[in-house]
């Protein structure tokens, strides 16, 4: 499937990010952060677009090819047909995300190891200098290297990265389900795609806007509150899947997630 070409682009992107960032910053922690930012950005974009565009075309394509009539003429319940289509789409996402996660972890691990070994060498030299220099038993370089080493270890591959990947995948699953649902009654594929993107953006933006309103000094009137609740009932809160920003910054995932 052509979609897997994206994985090649993804690998090229991480590699490019790794090489490019070395020209911008000498800070090892920032180098790993940029790698993660770019990879998660590519992963999110891929999953979101794929979940919407690929799922939106599943049923229209079956109708166009007349495969749908052949399938439904047999004793296959509609639910099973839809569920099978949905699982097929999600499987592609699952496989792609797994490959991307393996690639990201491998690149991260290799870069982290290279940076840590550079840092170890630097620390040995700094320790020797501190020992030889009169009046100095610690030095700034040593302090910085110690802090850097601990943040470098925190920025490498970890379980929390996996949590971010799971969140991105779950978001794609919800989005795929919504798109498939819309495509069952939509008159065109374009309509399905547009509706799915609108649901996605409303689901992302609505919680932030509501928070902002609630914290404003004017507060929210009773009617607005009702309206907000109605929107909340219809549109899923996609912010709940937004873990990447926090995880890249090194936050610890709450136990309830």
């Amino acid at each position: 499937m052509r979609v897997f070409y994206f994985l090649l682009i993804f690998s090229a992107l991480i590699l490019a990010a790794t090489l490019m960032i070395q020209n911008f910053t000498q800070d090892p922690t920032r180098q790993l952060k940029v790698m993660k930012d770019m990879s998660f950005f590519a992963m999110s974009i891929f999953c979101t677009i794929f979940a919407i565009v690929a799922t939106a075309n599943l049923i229209p394509k079956d109708i166009e090819d007349r495969t749908l009539y052949t399938i439904l003429a047999k004793p296959v319940p509609r639910f099973e047909y839809l569920f099978g289509k949905y699982l097929g789409g999600m499987l592609v996402i699952f496989v792609s995300v797994t490959v991307m996660t393996i690639l990201l972890s491998a690149f991260l691990y290799l870069r982290q190891e290279a940076l840590l070994s550079d840092l170890q060498e630097y620390m040995q030299v700094a320790e020797q200098e501190a020992e030889q220099a009169p009046g100095a038993i610690e030095n700034e370089g040593l302090d910085l290297a110690r802090v850097e080493a601990s943040s470098l270890r925190a920025q490498g591959p970890s379980w929390s990265l996996l949590a971010a990947v799971v969140a991105i995948s779950l978001q794609a699953m919800v989005l795929g389900a919504i798109t498939l649902c819309v495509s069952t009654f939509a008159s065109s594929g374009l309509f399905t795609v547009v509706v799915a993107f609108v649901v996605f953006f409303v689901g992302y933006i609505e919680p932030v806007v509501v928070d902002s309103w609630r914290s404003s000094p004017e507060g929210i009137s009773g009617f607005s509150n009702l309206l907000i609740s109605a929107v909340g009932v219809v549109f899923p809160n996609f912010q709940s899947f937004n873990l990447v920003d926090g995880i890249v910054a090194g936050e610890t995932l709450p136990s309830g997630w």
């Binding site: 100095a136 902002s212 709940s240």
Partner: protein, 321 residues
């Protein structure tokens, strides 16, 4: 509408009503764990800078990525020595991702040291008047302070932010008390002894009203130097530590047997340092104070002391002290 469609709408509402409390619980958990810091509706000025697409991306879960892009732009602006843009891009990066300590730390360093060196250096000579250059440098320092102090609101225990704040306060503001506090926090964020700990004590030694605390911390530092299985030989005792502790021993009239034991010759150190000091040159306030303290400790007569005046201080050295 047919009854099936009504059923679909009803199902959507029921499912939504069941789903909402779960989502609210997740949101509350994520907020408590700082996952939502910086997730706000962008204000007019931020929207203008981000553009409509950028604002949508910021709300759509790509804040970290956008912040990285702005940091890269800030780095490019730094290479072009356009510090106005450096500040603008770091402002956006920090607003988008306020829990990422590195942005605050770098913004503080860029504006507090690199921009100041540029404005007061040879490159701007002739381009702006001296008063304007000093004014621009002062504004940069204030901006750097704002970055670092705002950063501490989000990541109060970060080593890098506190270290940069300490350096900025002592080197560009002459504020020893503020610097001592910042270095203290930096030292607390590290395991074991650190240079930040020493900076904390040395700055505290110049903080009015903190003399007793400074002396007690110097004594603890002395125990660290001389105690343990591998006590340091005299030649490796930091001279700054020695003249500070000698100053307080004199100030508090500590009996000879209770004083810190060291054969290090502070007189020789003074002579060596004095040879490097030139009348008419400008120095940082901490260096001037160090020399004066050394002169106090060595009882150098007033007539033989280095004649420091107001003009001996570099620009931006007038602080809280």
């Amino acid at each position: 509408m047919t009854s099936k469609r009504w059923l679909a709408v009803l199902l959507l509402i029921v499912f939504g009503a069941v789903r909402m409390p779960f989502e609210q619980r997740i949101e509350a958990g994520l907020k408590a764990a700082h996952f939502r810091e910086g997730v706000t509706v962008p204000d007019d000025s931020m929207r203008e800078q981000l553009g409509q697409l950028g604002a949508a991306a910021a709300l759509g879960g790509f804040r970290s990525f956008l912040a990285t892009m702005f940091e890269l732009q800030a780095t490019t602006a730094y290479a072009n020595k356009d510090y106005e843009k450096v500040s603008k891009h770091y402002l956006l990066a920090t607003q988008l991702h306020p829990r990422e300590a590195g942005y605050w730390e770098m913004a503080g360093w860029m504006m507090g040291f690199n921009a100041v060196a540029y404005y007061l250096g040879e490159e701007t000579e002739g381009k702006y008047s001296t008063a304007m250059r000093v004014n621009l440098a002062r504004k940069s320092v204030d901006e750097a302070l704002r970055f670092l102090e705002n950063g501490l609101r989000y990541v109060p225990n970060d080593y890098g932010i506190n270290r940069n704040l300490g350096n900025l306060l002592v080197r560009k503001k002459g504020d020893f008390c503020g610097a001592a506090e910042a270095f203290g926090r930096a030292a607390d964020s590290m395991d074991g002894p650190s240079l930040a700990q020493r900076h904390h004590v040395y700055n505290l030694a110049y903080c009015p009203g903190q003399e007793e605390e400074a002396y007690s911390k110097l004594k603890a530092l002395g125990k660290f130097f001389k105690g343990g299985p591998n006590p340091l030989p005299d030649e490796r005792i930091p001279p700054a530590f020695l003249f500070h502790i000698r100053y307080f021993e004199k100030l508090f009239d500590i009996p000879a047997e209770d004083r810190f034991k060291s054969l290090l010759d502070l007189g020789a150190l003074y002579e060596k340092l004095r040879r490097n000091f030139e009348v008419g040159q400008q120095y940082e306030k901490r260096h001037v104070l160090n020399m004066q303290r050394l002169e106090d400790v060595l009882d150098i007569p007033k007539s033989n002391r280095i004649p420091f005046g107001k003009k001996s201080l570099r620009p931006l050295q007038g602080g809280a002290n």
